[in-house]
Symmetry: C2
Amino acid sequence: MQHKKRHTNARRRFIKKAAVLAAAPVMIGHHPGLAKQQVLHHVFFWLKRPGSAADQKALVEGLKTLKAVPQVRQLLIGTPASTVKRDVVDNSFQVSELMYFNSTADQDAYQEHPIHKAFVEKYSHLWDRVVVYDMITV
Amino acid sequence: MQHKKRHTNARRRFIKKAAVLAAAPVMIGHHPGLAKQQVLHHVFFWLKRPGSAADQKALVEGLKTLKAVPQVRQLLIGTPASTVKRDVVDNSFQVSELMYFNSTADQDAYQEHPIHKAFVEKYSHLWDRVVVYDMITV
């Protein structure tokens, strides 16, 4: 009986914990495991050879190496989406890189990290222009 | 007994489902509940009165209403982060809005949704310029 009761309590605790975790993903604007206020770092790349699929692919591969920088909580690499054309939409870039950090200090540290510096050294010959936006979520 | 068995099976199914969801958040670049290939819609706003904290706050409040559009899987609202200044960083905007969609069709549908149209009608007098980037993750 004692054993059965412990088992039931453990199961109740697990269900409670699982329910909390299961509920999290449906919350808009919430990333489980990330700090509440997040720093977003979004970089847009314009290639020297914008029509080169090989250069685009190479840059994407290079960007993937940045996942290994410990401060990078999340990395999403993109290319222009074929949404409906509108005057306000800038789809002239070839590659984008969105990163999540826990703080501005972490973003600053990422800039100085050897893996990031190696990426710039190896791949910067591919791009003509870069625009960076750094945001903190409200 | 029949009732007890049904109850146990339902609990087992719940635990299995909860465990799958609970495991997801540790994966870098993966948003639980979102499609594998996601469409990111990032909008940057430059206000007519860039120094007005009241206008910035009003726009942020307006953007929050967009969460109610069913196609919007995730919404993050930001302001410029005080990262280290660099030539490539554009921190001249006042507010940003990042949305996740499951497809380009969903993003296009969001543009036409009455809640989005009401937002533009009510708040567009606040901004001078908007730049939009639409990406699909690779």
